[in-house]
């Protein structure tokens, strides 16, 4: 039997039948392990050039999976990034010897994007220094392997803060710039990737290039939100802002649609500095609103608060009491809500982070809560990003899928302000093609709660969520890895093939993060 090799990024004809597995492009998404051809020559070459490369199961074993916990792979060797020159040497050698390089920041991917199926794993956490803080122009130059929480800590000493970053402590700056990054202030400040002013990038062929909107703009466009396909981000200059504590307000809804309408109303009118929705299933929907200054808070109270249709905590408790009194058979759900409230709410009001009614160090407060109450061995968080007008439908349909697959789950929704001048950045990214002004993102997060589900169960759940996206013309924050088949379904072959051609030009041996999207 002669089986032709499958070129990365190609989708061959299906010999089974045209309607086999309807709607799913036939593509291997859990990649084959690289066969190791030429590995020893490569190792000799990089070591001769002074790059420290560790081999063996002790060094490689700790990279066997990512936060998703459903993809397992091990590299042949690991290089901990030290500087751009070393990364350049590594990539030049990898290009010459055709050795795959998988780049890993915080390893918070969920589909195996940062898991190496053979080849070299480049651990960026070795490049984690803050290089320069410019308090005058409000920018910071940092190495890209730094975690956001370390960056926040450094900035905090200067009474400064980053603009927006994912609500966890351990995603890296470089990794986030490559995929998006959303925060509860993204509706006002945009996604994390949009705060990058300029980048130092090592291209797949080993050139060290500085890029920004003005300098090497095309590379900048491809690297930002580019899923690590067009270069390794080694340094980044980011916009920052003065540090401010937050005044938080919570409004409670029993309807997802009403809460989303109110969220979008606030975003459209720039009524708050922070806004987002966090739910306990679809029973308790919490609209979170926060402010950096007393003036903004006062303006909100004067102009907008009365227009919100949510309840305060006591009012909502009464509502729920009435609701479940009429539906005693749903007592289990009511008890879960109560237990969840008692466990989670105090996390957001910890006295060590509250002074004068304001929350300090929100990144720590949110991140602690995220890991403690939402984290588990497997992070299963499929998401949908849609234009504002289809968001309610996307969330409601996704909610129905969650209900079908898991007893308990959480939805997390935020708006993402788009920058019109960054349209080229958004091409084939998590930003949905039709979005104008704002895109809206919703994460669908089942509560695993110590239960063991099969990979197939998770995969079927994710597919059901992603199918909604295909149906609605949405996009996804967590493209890549095992979900890469969806890229073609969402964007169409023409656009994906155009990007694939660019990738082939930039990375002739197709070595850099090669199994992520193509």
């Amino acid at each position: 039997m002669n089986i032709p090799p499958v070129e990365p990024g190609t989708v061959g004809p299906c010999p089974v039948a045209p309607d086999a597995l309807q709607g799913i492009k036939r593509q291997q998404t859990n990649p084959a392990r690289w066969n190791g051809a030429g590995w020893q020559d490569f190792v000799a070459a990089v070591r001769a050039a002074g790059v420290e490369l560790a081999e063996g199961s002790t060094a490689c074993g700790m990279y066997a999976t990512d936060a998703g916990g459903t993809a397992y792979g091990q590299p042949h060797g690991v290089v901990v990034a030290r500087n751009a020159g070393q990364v350049s040497t590594l990539l030049r050698a990898a290009q010459a010897h055709r050795v795959p390089v998988t780049v890993r920041g915080g390893g918070l991917t969920t589909e195996g994007e940062s898991v190496a199926f053979g080849g070299v794993l480049l651990d960026m956490s070795g490049m984690s220094r803050v290089l320069n803080i410019d308090a005058q122009n409000l920018t910071v130059r940092t190495e890209a392997g730094i975690y956001w929480h370390s960056l926040a800590e450094e900035l905090r000493r200067e009474n400064l803060d980053y603009l927006s970053a994912p609500l966890n402590l351990t995603s890296s700056v470089g990794g986030t710039l490559g995929v998006g990054g959303i925060d509860v202030n993204s509706a006002r400040l945009g996604c994390s990737a949009d705060q990058a002013v300029s980048l130092q990038v090592v291209t797949p062929t080993g050139e060290i290039v500085e890029c920004s909107d003005d300098e090497n703009a095309e590379l900048f466009q491809r690297v930002i939100l580019g899923y690590g396909q067009f270069g390794v981000i080694t340094e980044a200059t980011l916009r920052i802002r003065p540090y401010t504590p937050l005044a938080m307000h919570y409004y409670y809804y029993s309807s997802l649609a009403t809460a989303i309408e109110d969220l979008q109303m606030l975003d459209r009118n720039d009524a708050s500095d922070y806004s987002g929705i966090l739910t306990i299933m679809d029973c308790a929907v919490n609209l979170l609103v926060a402010f950096d200054s007393d003036e903004r808070e006062a303006a909100f109270k004067a102009n907008w608060e009365a227009r919100l249709r949510g309840f305060g905590e006591a009012g909502f408790a009464l509502c729920m009491l009435g609701h479940y009194a009429l539906r005693p058979w749903r007592i289990g759900e009511a008890l879960y809500l109560l237990q969840r409230k008692q466990a989670v709410f105090p996390e957001f009001r910890r006295p060590e982070f509250h002074r004068d009614g304001k929350m300090h160090d929100r990144s720590v407060v949110f991140s602690r809560a995220v890991w403690k109450h939402w984290g588990s061995r497997q992070m299963v968080i499929p998401d949908l990003a849609t234009p504002a007008d289809t968001f309610i439908e996307a969330v409601e349909r996704g909610n129905a899928v969650c209900r079908k697959y898991f007893p308990h789950y959480t939805l997390y929704c935020v708006g993402i302000k788009l920058r019109p001048e960054h349209k080229p950045h958004y091409e084939m990214s998590c930003v949905p093609p039709g979005a104008e002004g704002w895109a809206y993102g919703c994460e669908f997060e089942p509560m695993i709660e110590g239960e063991v589900y099969s990979r197939d169960h998770f995969q079927a759940f994710k597919n059901a969520i992603y199918d909604i996206g295909v149906d609605l013309g949405a996009s996804y924050y967590r493209f890549g890895g095992m979900m890469k088949g969806y890229i073609r379904r969402v964007f169409g072959d023409a656009l994906v093939d155009r990007h694939l051609a660019m990738k082939r030009k930039a990375d002739p041996a197709m070595i850099l993060n090669r199994d992520v999207i193509f």
């Binding site: 299906c14 010999p15 089974v16 291997q28 084959a32 490689c60 397992y72 792979g73 169960h457 995969q459």
Partner: protein
């Protein structure tokens, strides 16, 4: 003596899935196969959609060489003695009709594992921190020293016999056989897999088209006569369905099957550093489709080894924790409560039933009951009922019955 990380016994789809996981994780993996590859394997070849998806996601697009003609199957048609037909399409479209000889070879090659064919498993010695696997290659003894063994060698598993010598005596055994006929006239749709709920024909009676011929297959309790059973089915198809076939060709085939463990939740998962997976462990979906659960359980056995090494936990503990989800899914297929109130299968039986008239529904349910009575001698009824009642209470099936 060769020292490796994992030895997998068998080169089937379960073995390929397990090997894929261990090889991906960088573990040195050797697959032992008794026959020369590619080897023949008796099978209907009709893979369920979730099995198809697994193959695509893990091994890539299927080459044409691994498929029979017709290359795809639209669904399953149930036939009953009352002559009511219930065609049911698979969810998510058609599925592949695998040529097991080539599909298994393709998958094991794509897994990246080192395959030692013509190497028969002969026994093992558990040494606490490693296992010695004894085998014979061309009659010569060979020994492997390995950290873990995965037994993926099908229903008549030698690995299971090595670990649990009495197990094979504790479960009922069936024989399934199929004969291939040139077609004169066959009104049965070639797009469907046909299955008969007919106690007079056998415990498992099926027919479908393959490479221009018609398969007539029958399964029965071991000890009965294949030729006679087959003749009854052939005559029935002729009389009741107008199927005109030439006499069977010479290439008929059959094998022993361990149909039953997944009905009553009596799986066998191994001991110490030896894991058992696939049909060897007892996984079999309803209508006898074992490939999709072989793929998934095989993958879980590989994942369990990787996970156990990462967490420094006993591999059995990890495997049994992780396999519970697949047990739940597979045993749900046989759970009468699930069948009545949920959709555990990959085709919609309740919907097909509701398309029938009230009278036909009554006849179908009566015929199904008569068919179930055929299995009365195995005393599965109470065990299935007990498991079905426990399912909603504990959220799964009790693990005490697993070996």
């Amino acid at each position: 003596m060769r020292t490796v990380d994992v030895v997998i016994v068998g080169a089937s789809l379960a073995a390929a899935a397990a090997a894929k996981r261990t090889v991906d994780a960088g573990l040195e993996t050797v697959v032992l196969e008794r026959k020369e590859l590619p080897r023949h394997k008796i099978c209907s070849g009709i893979l369920s959609p979730r099995g198809h998806r697994f193959l695509l996601e893990n091994f890539g697009p299927l080459p044409r060489e691994v498929l029979h003609e017709p290359t795809s199957c639209r669904g399953v048609t149930f036939h009953f003695p009352c002559l009511v037909e219930m065609p049911m399409d698979f969810f998510h479209g058609t599925t592949p009709h695998l040529h097991r000889k080539y599909s298994d070879h393709w998958a094991i090659q794509r897994s990246g594992a080192e395959v030692h064919d013509q190497t028969s498993f002969a026994g093992l010695e558990e040494k606490g921190d490693h296992v010695l696997v004894h085998a014979r290659k061309h009659g010569e003894p060979v020994t492997y020293r390995t950290r873990q063994v995965i037994g993926a060698d099908g229903p008549s598993s030698l690995v299971v016999r090595a670990v649990y010598p009495d197990y094979t005596k504790q479960i009922p055994w069936f024989f399934v056989g199929q004969k291939f006929h040139e077609i004169i006239d066959c009104p049965l749709s070639p797009e469907y897999f046909h299955f008969w709920f007919h106690p007079g024909l056998g415990h498992y009676t099926w027919s479908h088209a393959r490479d221009g011929r018609q398969i007539v297959g029958v399964g029965f309790k071991r000890g009965d006569n294949f030729a006679r059973k087959h003749q009854v089915v052939e005559q029935y198809l002729k009389d009741k369905h107008g199927v005109q076939l030439k006499p069977a060709d010479d290439d008929h085939e059959g094998c022993a099957e361990n149909f039953g463990p997944s009905l009553i939740n009596r799986y066998v998962f191994g001991k110490g550093n030896v894991l058992v997976t696939g049909q060897a462990a007892g996984f079999l979906n309803m209508i006898g489709e074992g490939m999709s659960c072989a793929l998934h359980s095989g993958a879980i056995s590989g994942e369990a080894i990787v996970e156990a090494q990462r967490r420094n936990r006993p591999v059995q503990e990890m495997y049994r924790r992780m396999i519970a989800s697949e047990v739940r899914r597979c045993s749900d297929q046989w759970n009468p409560l699930k069948i009545a109130f949920d959709r555990p299968h990959e085709a919609d039986f309740p919907e097909a039933l509701m398309k029938l008239s009230w009278r036909e529904r009554g006849l179908v349910l009566r015929d199904m009951w008569n068919f179930i009575v055929l299995f009365k001698e195995f005393k599965w009824g109470r065990q299935i009922a007990a498991a079905a009642l426990q399912r909603p209470i504990v959220g799964g099936y009790p693990i005490q019955k697993w070996l």
